[in-house]
Every structure is written in structure tokens, then in C-alpha cells.
Symmetry: C2
Subunit: 444 residues, 2 copies
């Protein structure tokens, strides 16, 4: 029986998980794939100092020589599992130089250096698998590249960061504040000691950049679109959203419009009956709107050693099947042939148009509501719902919650500026986008 040798770069949580999965499931993999897939070498900078070991891999096959492992002629497939930017980029390009197929779980390197990496893979006719880079075990990359290959994709909306989804779910269910919830999440291991990468939306931005890139066939620069995290979500807003029939989620959105790509990451109110509004805890979800397949929703675990290892190994298996067949590259790295990619314009944030949830703290005086709604009307903003709470929250201020109809962002900014100038309005306010009618909501 044919044997395929895999080399792993990195023996952290994911690397250990991949070695363990390939060892434990070798019998099942043999039954499905018809070959043995073996982790022959692991290279990890701290391997020797920290005396790292891996299930099913002899200690003498674990060392620190990453380049030596990549260059090893016995290694058929390399899996880059170290994360980070510069080193990962260098190792991936080195593999392509040698004509070696690679798998990576590294969203950052693909989001930042994706064009260069995809181009190098394409030129060297090498396969690159990166299913694990977005939404963990949810097979969203394979489905965009293959299952919807004949479909024009209109929109992708995702809950792509498990840490934020866990925090927002806890805030909703326990009526808790952001900071205490974050601290609990850190204690439970659902948030990093330095959580900014997750809670400021950067991780989700990397992931939606990758999905937009392969769905629309256009390079997407992560700096080209607006990214907002969940630090400013107040428990009041979570409560009022629930009262109005919504859930607050950190959404990553990529939409093809007539004017260009509308890409953004921000917290948003989603109607409670939207299928991804009900995806709670650390789970991830992706909804896709495609021309012929119609709306699609995928839900699963977005992180963790086992789900990530499952996604990495599904790519290793695909590359092993190709290796056995003598095929170098089956599906183009970026889902489109390089010569057929088209650079599309990413819309200016100010020109995006959505509904808005606004919360102001207003002194309970006659005429206040009329003044505020007048200023909204001056910017052509019409109102869907007003929720005025009778009880003052602090110092005589009562919360005033307004849901608008669809409006261009620059108009809402101007209206808020004017409203905050009113004497009866406290400077603390909330403005959260509402995604109610987006085309990827699944309706039967």
C-alpha cells in the first residue's frame, strides 16, 4: 500500500492534534483513501528545549530543523501550523519553490500575504489546502471552491470568531457586562490573555478577507474595509436588542454589489429568527447566498485542537489522493485561475447602507423626542421603531432607543453629531448596525 509522508511545521495545539488524529484514525483513513498517511517528521523551534512529543511520532523524528524538513525528499506534504506572518510566509514559498504541496491553518498569513502565496502556488503548479484557516471544522473553503464553483456568489455573512460569539452569548443569557464576561472567558480558556486580536475584530477580518478573495475572485486588502470589535457593546444594548426581537452578533460580511465589494466586520443586530442569530457560544456559522444553489447555512466548531485538526487532515487527505494519482494541482489556489482574477473596488465605509440601532441617554423633558427625530429627518433618516424607557437610569437621563430604516452611513454620522449637540442628550450613546434583510437569510 502506498505511503504518504507528512511533515509538520509547529508542534503546538494544532500540530499535536494533527499528529494524534492521523495516528488514531489511520485505519479509517486507509479504508477511505487507500493509502497510509504518516507524520514522518515534525520541526518546531522549541521542540528540543521543551522536550515536546507527539502521539505516533518517534522522538528522533521531532527536531528544530524546519528548512531541513521542507527540503527532505521523503516528505510528500508539508503542513504549516505555526501561525504568524513572516516565517510562515517564507516556509510556504519555500515549499512551492520545491514543488511541494502544503496545508496551512494560518489565516493571518493568507489574509496579509494571500496574493503572493496564491500566485506562487499557481505558478509552481502546487496545491495549497487552507480549510482550517476559516471557521475551523466548518468546510467553507472546500464548498466555495468546489460545491458552488458554478454559482455566482452574492454574499457571505459569518460568525467567524468563537471568542466574540461566546462573550456576546454570555452577555445575552446572563445580562452581564462586557468586561466581567471577558474575564470569565479568559478564565475558561475561551479568550486569550491579550484578547485584542479577537475582540477588536481583526481575526474575523482576516477570515472574511480570505472568503471574499476566493468567492469573488478578487484580491482583498484587509486594510481596505472597516473593522469594529465588540468592546463597546453595553449590556443595555444587548437587553434592548432582545426586547426588540434581535440578537447582537459580531458579523463578518462580504457582499457583491453593483458598485463594488461591500466588506465589513462589526457587531450587528440580527432578527432572532435569522438562522445564524441562533448560533451561540463558541460556535461559528457561515451563510452564503449563491445564484443557483440559493441560500446556504453552515454551522460548526470554529476552533479547538480537534476541529482544527479535522480540517487540516481533510486537506492532507485531498493532497494525498492527488499525490497517489500523480496530480499536482487540481483546484486553483485562490479558486480562480490567476489570469482570470479581477481586482474589484471595495466600497468606502461611508457609502454602505444599512439599518441602525441607536441608543441615546436623554433628559426626560417635553420636546426631546421631537427634536431628536427632527434631526434624523433632516438627514433623510426614517424611523422604524422607538423604544422609550420611562425609568431614569442615572442622573435623570432615560434611555431612548431608535431603530431606523435603511440609510447611508455618512447620513447617520451627521445626524448623530447633531443630536449629541442637543443639551438634553448625554454624550454616551450607542450606534449598532442592523442586518435584517440581507439576502443570505434562509427562508423556506
Amino acid at each position: 500500500m502506498k505511503k504518504i509522508s507528512v511533515g509538520l511545521i509547529g508542534l503546538g495545539t494544532v500540530g499535536s492534534g494533527v499528529a494524534k488524529l492521523l495516528y488514531e484514525q489511520k485505519e479509517l483513513i486507509r479504508r477511505r483513501v487507500g493509502c497510509e498517511i504518516i507524520v514522518s517528521r515534525i520541526a518546531d523551534r522549541g521542540a528540543l528545549k521543551k522536550k515536546k512529543t507527539a502521539v505516533g511520532v518517534a522522538n528522533e523524528n521531532i527536531d528544530t530543523d524546519i528548512v531541513g524538513m521542507i527540503e527532505d525528499k521523503n516528505i510528500d506534504i508539508v503542513a504549516e501550523l505555526i501561525g504568524g506572518l513572516e516565517d510562515a510566509r517564507k516556509y510556504l514559498l519555500k515549499c512551492f519553490d520545491l514543488g511541494k504541496p502544503v496545508v496551512t491553518a494560518n489565516k493571518a498569513v493568507l489574509a496579509v500575504h494571500g496574493e503572493e502565496i496564491f500566485e506562487a502556488a499557481f505558478k509552481s503548479n502546487c496545491s495549497i489546502g487552507y480549510e482550517a484557516s476559516v471557521a475551523g471544522s466548518v468546510p467553507i473553503i472546500r464548498n466555495i471552491r468546489e460545491s458552488f464553483a458554478s454559482d455566482k456568489i452574492y454574499e457571505i455573512t459569518g460568525i467567524l470568531n468563537g471568542t466574540c460569539n461566546y462573550i456576546l452569548t454570555e452577555m445575552t443569557e446572563k445580562n452581564a457586562e462586557f468586561l466581567t464576561t471577558l474575564e470569565n472567558a479568559q478564565k475558561l480558556g475561551y479568550a486569550e490573555a491579550d484578547p485584542s486580536f479577537d475582540i477588536d475584530g481583526i481575526d474575523a477580518a482576516h477570515k472574511i478577507a480570505i472568503l471574499a478573495n476566493i468567492a469573488f475572485g478578487s484580491p482583498v486588502n484587509v486594510d481596505a474595509f472597516a473593522v469594529e470589535g465588540i468592546r463597546d457593546i453595553h449590556s443595555y444594548d444587548v437587553q434592548y436588542a432582545t426586547e426588540l426581537g434581535y440578537r447582537i452578533k459580531l458579523l463578518a460580511i462580504a457582499r457583491q454589489t453593483g458598485e463594488g465589494l461591500d466588506i465589513r466586520v462589526h457587531p450587528a443586530l440580527l432578527p432572532q429568527d435569522n438562522p445564524i442569530a441562533q448560533v451561540n457560544g463558541v460556535l461559528n456559522a457561515v451563510s452564503i447566498s449563491a445564484s443557483h444553489a440559493g441560500p446556504q447555512v453552515f454551522v460548526g466548531r470554529g476552533a479547538g485542537a480537534e476541529p482544527t485538526a479535522s480540517a487540516v487532515v481533510s486537506d492532507i487527505i485531498e493532497l494525498a489522493r492527488s499525490k497517489v494519482l500523480g496530480v499536482k494541482s487540481r483546484v486553483p489556489a485562490s479558486s480562480f485561475l490567476t489570469e482570470y482574477r479581477k481586482s474589484e473596488n471595495v466600497l468606502e465605509k461611508d457609502l454602505n447602507s444599512t439599518k441602525f440601532y441607536l441608543r441615546f441617554s436623554v433628559l426626560d423633558s417635553p420636546g426631546a423626542l421631537s427634536e431628536i427625530t427632527g434631526l434624523l429627518s433632516d438627514q433623510d433618516i426614517s424611523i422604524e421603531t422607538v423604544l422609550q424607557k420611562g425609568k431614569a437610569v442615572s442622573e435623570g437621563y432615560v434611555p431612548l432607543v431608535i431603530m431606523t430604516h435603511q440609510v447611508i452611513e455618512k447620513n447617520i454620522s451627521k445626524a448623530i453629531e447633531d443630536i449629541l449637540e442637543l443639551e438634553v442628550v448625554h454624550p454616551e450613546f450607542s450606534m449598532i448596525r442592523v442586518e435584517s434583510n440581507h439576502s443570505s437569510s434562509v427562508e423556506g
Copy 2:
């Protein structure tokens, strides 16, 4: 640029949809796949008599000569889109005889003749794509065969029949009876003139047999497991289920247990917060529980010309990629290499264990409840909830609804037999399984 010629067998709704999709999206397909995929011939028995035409296909390329088309050396890939059993089987085997890759949307032929067809495909080293045979545009076949290829699959639970899901959703939302809802569904085109194939669960049984086959690597005979449809679901039951926090869905379940495969199709109460309980209308949903990927949910359109065409064309594209690379078969037809398949025992229905929803009509007399619960207790059945309605529905009978804890089916059958012998109990009753804790429910 390489040109791949496709021949279609059948020019009904799906065949027309496939021709239209390949024609309309040829530019996008070229950008993604790097070759032209053209429908060169269509063979349909009624083509000439009914003067059928297809978008993008010249009339002289549409005829009735199915075998001639299959034998045509210019045809690279054949798509069988006629449905039915015997002819479809014959054409598929003919393709394999000639070493030609095929795509089919035909669940019946795969459920009934799957072993023979998969074996023939494997022996002739031919690819067969059948994504469209289960759950329409939901890419469940590809994901079982590839994304979870390293995972032991524990369970698949699906809403696989859009007609039943539409009827049950309407009954829930409009508090309507089965028959009137079915008639409306027929008027709207969501149910066939002869609806028995759908509403008696046969269609869902075919589909779960295919999924179980490829998930567990075992032949599954559609006659080996219990199949119940939705004809006997009463609007009362839909109402009481809602009151108790459940939704009634027609579920197709395939579960790996220590004793064998637990496979069944029947209506079931699902807790309202179960992710697939909220999948309404004609939509399909599949949840999977896999050893490493964890729980997964997929939702999308299960029928219709465009979603089905999208799934068929995704397979055609996969086979076209292989053709260009000179690859015959990349993934084994049945997901496992033939020599590594193991025939697993399908559990006797009587030995399955679930919770039950029971509804009796009981004369409102003292001691009736005590007698009934006593008979349940005699069979070791413990009770989770009792819902007794004060108001008599007809002739002095009041509804008594009981939710049991987990119990073996043969015990519940015996208890019901005994209960129906009580003088105070009307012969009309309901017994519906409750799927509350199955392992594929996605929890964050």
C-alpha cells in the same frame, strides 16, 4: 482552452436546469476551472415528440438516442437525469462499461441499486458524482466523502424531504389539518399529484440510506429499517408539541451504535432550540456528529431546478477537472474502498430506544390518569411530563398528553396495547418519537 463535452440523459426540469446553468455561467466556470464545459448532446425519450429545447444547445443535438449518446466518443461526461430505477441503472452501468464518468441526481437508483453501481464504478475505475441525489444544493455528499474523511461519523440526522417539511411548517404556523395543507401544497407545486412517495417517507428513506452507506462504509438496504410518514400527524399534536416547546419534523436518522446501525425515518418532536427544528418550509437540513470535527449543521434548498442543477454541475466540474488532469477516479464511489467496506447490522426497530410523545383521548373520570400511568409503569416507562386538557374535545373525551423518558420501543408498544384496552380510553391515539438529546445537536 480545453473543452469538455457533457451529454445529458433526460430533458425534464433538472436536465433543462443543468443545460441553462452551464450555458449562463460558462464565463464564471472558465474563470474557476480553466476549461470550457459544453452540453454537446441531450438524449430524452420524449424529446422529438414534445419538441423539447434547451438553452445553449442546438436542436439538432437533442434526440432520443440515449445509448448512442453514451457511446459517442466525443462525450466526456454523462449526466443521468431521468430518475426511476431500471433504465437509470442500465445507463449508469453502460457508462462504467465504457469507462465513462457519470453524474446522477437519482436517489432511488442509488438507494436500491447502490451496491451494484458503486461496485461497478470502482471496478472500472470511474468516477460517479451524486451530490444532487440527497438534499439538493446542500453539499452533504462531498462533505462526507472529503471534509470528514478522517472522522468517525457517529450520527446523521436530516430533514431531507422538502414537501413534508413544508406541510409540517404550514400545519404549525396555520394550525391546519394535514389533508387541507397537503391540498394547498399540491396547488402550489410543493407536492406531487400522487404525494405518497414524499409523505410516506420513502424519498427520505432513500436519501438516508445513501448517506448511511457512505458515512459508515456499509451497504444499507432500504427495506431493513422502519419508515413512517406524516399522514397521521394531527393538528392537535402539532399544537401540543408547540406548547411543550417542540416542533414536529420528519426526521431521517442514521446512528452508529455499539450494537449496529440505528436507521429510521419518522416524524419526531425536536426541541424548539435544536438548530434543525428551526429549519422551515421547503428547506432541507442535515446535522452530522463527527469524532473530531464535532457537530455540524448544513441548511439549504433540497429541491427545485436551480439548486439541483447547481449540485449536478458541481459534480460535472469536479469530473471535468479530473478529465483535464487525466485522472479517472479520485475519491472511491462509496467513500470507502470496496475491499474495506464492512456489512453492518441494522438494528431491529423494536430495540431502538427513544423518548415518546403519547396522546390519548380519555373519558374525564376519577382514576383514569392513575390507571394509565400505572400501565406505563408496568413496562418500566417513566414519565417526564403530563399535559391534561380540562376541556372535552368530543363526546366527553379529553386529551391526555404524556412525554416519557427514554424507553425501548417494544415496551411502549406493549403499554399502548394495554392502555387502549381500558374502557375510559378512546381507540384514536398518537405516538410520536421525541429526539431530544441526540448527539448531533450543536451546542456552543
